[in-house]
């Protein structure tokens, strides 16, 4: 009896927990497939299911523009940050550049609440006339991706890899060659995964875009937030938009699952 309970209890707890997490997501999927009136019915009715909301959001709202802006901003900020962060992380890990103080500085930059940065950035962009531009958004997202990537990539350059590089150096490779032709290729899978995580951080960012974007440069999160005020609470299209905006992130999941823990724990755990 006791042994049986020991086997079943964990599954009961895990199943209840999984249901609590899953039910809202299934419900959103259901609402996104119903027509606008059925979506409001209390008690709920199944009604006719279809893809009309998915078509509707593309016709009624600048969904394509939000999607494109999100993609451009996230790609550009990650592409700028990734090489710079890789070189910096390498120097931190292998040559201990700047010591503990600089590392602490990078960690602290990553932990800064965006609300502290957004006001000065808004002031600066106002002065140079760049508010509402995509450039402002890309620069703002660099404040997130650059410290995150620099901090995370350090752990990828620590450990056994040093020996490979030493071998290359003995064979006459310069420091740069050892970095570029040995360290980077070996760490490439990690660098790629970190890049994808950086992309997701930017994809999900809200406050910077809320303050710094204009009518043509809004990204998905800000667009979705405005959807609600646009047309009262139109829950059926909102649910469809929610599902669509989740797709890219879930599509990336298999590629970064191995490095997810490292990303979430800021490199502290594997």
């Amino acid at each position: 009896m006791n042994r049986l309970a020991k086997k079943i209890v964990p599954h009961v707890i895990l199943a209840i927990f999984s249901l609590v997490i899953l039910m809202p997501l299934i419900w959103i999927l259901r609402v996104s497939l119903t027509d606008k009136l059925t979506a409001y019915k209390i008690p709920p009715e199944i009604g006719t299911l279809g893809l009309m909301n998915y078509i509707g959001i593309f016709e009624q709202y600048p969904f394509v523009s939000w999607f494109t802006n999100s993609f451009i901003v996230a790609t550009a900020s990650t592409m700028i940050a990734l090489p710079l962060a890789t070189a910096m992380a390498y120097a931190f890990a292998r040559l201990n550049t700047g010591g503990a103080l600089l590392r602490l500085g990078v960690l602290a930059s990553q932990m800064l609440p965006p609300i502290i940065l957004v006001l000065p950035l808004f002031g600066v962009f106002l002065l140079v006339g760049l508010t509402q531009s995509r450039i402002a958004l890309i620069v703002a997202h660099l404040t997130i991706s650059l410290p995150f990537l620099s901090w995370m990539l350090v752990s990828f350059f620590e450990g056994d890899m040093a020996r490979l590089e030493e071998a290359a150096r003995v064979d006459g490779a310069t420091r740069w060659q050892a970095f570029f032709y040995v360290a980077v290729p070996v760490a490439a899978p990690g660098i790629l995964a970190a890049g994808l995580l950086g992309f997701i951080l930017s994809w999900n960012e809200f406050l910077f875009v809320l303050v710094l974007s204009g009518p043509g440069t809004q990204t998905l999160p800000v667009g979705l937030a405005s959807l609600e005020t646009h047309a009262g609470v139109e829950i059926a299209p909102l649910a469809a938009a929610t599902v669509v905006s989740l797709l890219p992130v879930f599509a990336l999941l298999p590629f970064l699952r191995k490095h997810l823990i490292k990303g979430l724990s800021l490199g502290a755990l594997k």
């Binding site: 209890v9 997490i21 930059s109 800064l112 006001l119 000065p120 809200f206």
Partner: protein, 294 residues
């Protein structure tokens, strides 16, 4: 000897050369704005006349600290952070322990719990607003079905903050689970076998083996989660805008309101500086504990 010294110097030079571009950009986009905020906090600065002509010393700080709304937002944030971190830790540790003890269905459970973690807080806020709508929401409907009174989830000053806490738990509890599980699965097996031979109960081996061994992982996980909870903004903006009244006015939102609604840039900068001090303190602790971990 002199050769290895010059090698060392060349190494150092190479290190700085490699980090220079990244550091320069980091200084420009992070450190410069932080200094701008600190500088603004001791000047009279308005969006209409954006200049630093009038030095005001600690005036903005005095205004901020003597503002009951700001003090309220600080206390509320402290309460919110402790509530979400403690509850998420309790649930998270329980689920992590259960996950660590099962083999079958583990990938399914794990896959499900990853879902909220990848979701954007804006989306989480929007869907829960939908569910928690007082008359059209599914949650109140289900409550009435099982015989309870409907609840005014976001409209009541007493309940709203707990609603935000619940939604945050739904969204972020997986963070705790994933990290604690990573810690648990890395624990050595031997102490548990020795304990079993000695006839220790499940609870004894939890309190005398698991907990002490997990301490560094627990501290790092709690600190990271705390810092992120202090930053909570999106959920408040989407679900309540700090309301009803100031019932959910967390500090990030209070600063936003002061800057972009009241257009009180000086005071908002002083509030930012105070928040910055708290964050740096927590980050310092985190850095220390992270070093013990690796």
């Amino acid at each position: 000897m002199s050769r290895s010294l010059s090698m060392e110097a060349a190494d150092r030079r190479f290190g700085w050369l490699m980090s220079a571009p990244g550091l320069a950009l980091l200084l420009a986009v992070v450190l410069f704005p932080v200094f701008w905020a600190l500088f603004t906090s001791v000047h009279e600065f308005t969006l209409i006349a954006p200049n630093f002509d009038t030095f005001t010393g600690v005036d903005n700080y005095v205004t901020a600290i003597s503002d009951p709304a700001f003090r309220h937002s600080l206390w509320l944030t402290a309460f919110f952070v402790f509530a979400v971190v403690l509850i998420e830790f309790a649930i998270g540790f329980l689920v992590a322990l259960m996950l660590n003890s099962v083999e079958r269905f583990k990938p399914i459970y794990y896959g499900i719990l990853l879902c909220p973690l990848l979701m954007n807080p804006v989306i989480v806020g929007l869907i829960w607003r939908m569910f928690l709508h007082p008359s059209l929401g599914i949650v109140n409907y289900l409550l009435t079905v099982i015989g309870f009174e409907p609840v005014n989830w976001l409209g009541s000053t007493k309940i709203a903050i707990w609603t935000i806490i619940m939604v945050d738990i739904w969204h972020q509890v997986s963070f705790m689970i994933v990290l604690l599980l990573a810690g648990l699965s890395a624990l050595p097996r031997e102490p548990y076998e020795a304990a079993r031979v000695d006839g220790a109960s499940v609870f004894q081996s939890f309190f005398y083996i698991t907990l002490p061994l997990m301490m560094p992982v627990i501290i790092v996980t709690l600190l990271i989660r705390m810092i992120f909870a202090v930053k909570t903004y999106d959920l408040i903006y989407i679900m309540t805008r700090g309301g009803p009244g100031v019932a959910t006015d967390l500090v990030s939102y209070a600063i936003y309101r002061t800057a972009f609604v009241s257009l009180n840039i000086g005071e908002a900068s002083a509030m930012s500086a105070i928040l910055l001090a708290f964050i740096l303190l927590l980050t310092g602790y985190l850095y220390r504990y992270m070093r013990t971990l690796t």
